[in-house]
Amino acid sequence: MDYFLELFLGGLTRGSIYALIALGYTMVYGIIELINFAHGEVYMIGAFTALIVASVLSLMGMSGFSLLILAGLIAVIYASAYGYTIEKVAYKPLRQAPRLSPLISAIGMSIFLQNYVLLSQTSDFLSFPALIEEFEFMEPVSHIMRSSELVIVLTTAVVTALLTLFIKFSRIGKAMRATAQDKTMAMLLGVNVNRVISVTFIIGSGLAAVGGVLISSHIGQINFYIGFIAGIKAFTAAVLGGIGSIPGAVLGGLVLGWTESFATGYVSSDYEDVFAFGLLVFILIFRPAGILGRTTSEKV
């Protein structure tokens, strides 16, 4: 039973991270119908920035909770700045282009960013400081759940709730929903579509960075390649839940997290990624609209 619980909680943690990254995919896809391949790289850059900032600050003598908050905050700011710039450079000039063009541009951007980090930093794994300290009250259950896992799950819950409220009630959130429904119509009604798209990228990238910092601190090491795999898996989560849907991204993330956790726990740990990719292929073939998505027919 403990083993089951451990796998369940492990899956929940993983799933939460996937959900955080998937939110970015889903929001961008909802608005400009583009798989932002570079999104995983933004997550990776967030993690690297946090590592760098945390190292500098801890050499300056900072530690504990304030270190986590400050490093996390700077990572989020940087990731958002990257997301914003990526959109301006690689996607905005291609709004009118055939569908394949922005997709290829996105792949190019992803390869570029991976190698940018590889060259400017290192190809080795770097050990990531444990920014989240062990809580005392978690002591009795520490054999099945670590404090960092609790923080990850809680943060995801809070962030998703905030995001949902933001999109529901804020002005820009409403503009986002309008743009996602019908871009031309939104434009005619006076929505500044360019700004909406930028904000979408900024928020999505920030969320990815939150995920990047938390999971790196939990796992304890990073390298330039972590964004690639995490990106595909998070995309799987977004598709699983129904791309374009925010609760769908969270649900998809959790389902994927549990699938991986239980499959590696009970079946075989060698094929961890195969399960994820297999699920992706399976979903796209049999239910491309996802769990919460609706099938729509292209207007001809």
Binding site: I45, L100, I107, G108, Y271, V281
Partner: protein, 416 residues
């Protein structure tokens, strides 16, 4: 006087300010990653302030070029001019038999004597470049002609390579026996994978093929009993030459000529396909799926042929790769390989044969000969993909469509 200059000065200042802002923004953006480097184990930090200056100066000047190109693109006319220029040269070369013939003969002679005037090492590199020409042309069928973004192309390359490696290892099958088998097996995989996924929309197709590519690599890595896992398969036989013993150098020359032959074959096949009933259906599918179906073309079947044919080529080259290196392991078949082949197609020009050949040579030979540059290879590929999509989506060379001439009253069409 002063009022006359005013707009110009204003323009210059505004451009300068724009570029300064861009430079400042990129210096901010790259600051943590480019300037600071941490060594967590030694607990030391390295500050590389020079990098910040490079970034600042670089982005300052690049932003001028970027804006200039952007303006030109939005203006649109200069691009068209370039295209008609290219068209004219292309037509002239095609129409003037003397130019094309003497050009072909010169290239033919150069190709023939290449392995004898250059070192074995150079020939090896050339073989690699030719392999990528073939891979590029194969992927060009899928991406360039049929418009299907296949990000898992390397999977078929791996199938071909492992097909020969395993058959050779277990049964001692020769290269020439295995070559068609590799192609056929890859095609079979293409059909098996293509059948379910080709119904998907373009961007979903991209990600599913990416997933498939990774699945195949992971299986090769983990299924030790079958594929010998990460340590791979060594001692694969080189291609045999009528049972004669060849020295290493002779083998290289031999392989070079095999490659030349196969590339010529590929070019012939692809150029014929491109202007055939099937080829036109592929292009139509790329241009407009709905209209294509409404004109009576079976979407799935047409996509499947493109997918399987592209896979066949990857399989063939995979077999050659195994024979060339005599050792393979899953590490040769990562997503980066797919990305590289894709950038060859994108850079060269989707749908254009000459473009893809040029693209392969540029992307493979350039980093090879500019050693200092080779580290930055993938960085440059990524950047090139973005820049090409933004400024010249048709690639270096635009694919030229076949022209027909009609003579009054007779209605007889003649292709030229």
């Amino acid at each position: 006087m002063a009022t006359q200059w005013k707009p110009l000065i204003e323009k210059i200042t505004s451009e300068l300010v724009k570029s300064l802002l861009v430079a400042a923004w990129f210096m901010f953006l790259t600051f943590p990653l480019m300037v600071i480097r941490v060594h967590p184990l030694e607990r030391t930090i390295e500050w590389r302030w020079m990098n910040m200056i490079y970034v600042g100066v670089g982005s300052f000047f690049l932003s001028f070029i970027w804006r200039y190109l952007m303006e030109r693109k939005d203006g649109g006319n200069s691009k068209e001019e370039g295209d008609t220029w290219q068209k004219r040269v292309g037509l002239r070369i095609r129409s003037d038999k003397r130019i094309s013939l003497s050009g072909l003969i010169a290239i033919g002679i150069f190709i023939f004597i290449f392995p004898f005037i250059f070192s074995s090492y150079q020939t090896q590199i050339m073989i690699t470049a030719l392999m990528y020409v073939m891979l590029g042309l194969g992927l060009n069928i899928v991406v360039g002609l049929a418009g299907l973004l296949d990000l898992g192309y390397v999977a078929f390359y791996a199938v071909g390579a492992y097909c020969y490696a395993l058959l050779n290892h277990h049964f001692g099958l020769s290269f020439w026996m295995a070559l068609p088998l590799s192609g056929a097996l890859a095609a079979t995989f293409g059909i098996l994978l293509g059948f379910p996924v080709l119904r998907l929309r373009g961007d979903y197709l991209a990600i599913v093929t990416l997933g498939f590519g990774e699945i195949i690599r992971l299986i090769l890595e983990n299924w030790n009993e079958f594929s010998f896992g990460p340590s791979g398969i060594a001692g694969i036989s080189r291609p045999g030459f009528f049972g004669m013993e060849l020295s290493l150098q002779e083998h290289t020359v031999y392989l070079y000529f095999i490659m030349i032959m196969l590339v010529v074959l590929t070019v012939l096949v692809v150029s014929r396909l491109r202007n055939s009933r099937i080829g036109r259906a592929w292009i139509a599918l790329r241009e407009d799926e709905v209209a294509c179906q409404a004109m009576g073309i079976d979407k799935t079947k047409t996509k499947l042929t493109a997918f399987a044919l592209g896979a066949t080529w990857a399989g063939l080259v995979g077999c050659i790769f195994a024979a060339k290196t005599t050792f393979i392991n899953p590490a040769s078949f990562t997503f980066m390989e797919s990305a590289m082949i894709l950038s060859i197609v994108v850079l060269g020009g989707m749908g254009s044969i000459v473009g893809v050949i040029l693209g392969a040579f540029v992307l493979i030979l350039l980093p090879e000969y500019l050693r200092a540059f080779s580290e930055y290879r993938m960085l440059a590929f990524g950047a090139a993909m973005v820049i090409i999509m933004v400024f010249r989506p048709q690639g270096i060379i635009t694919g030229i469509r076949q022209r027909y001439e009609f003579h009054r009253n007779t209605q007889k069409g003649k292709a030229r």
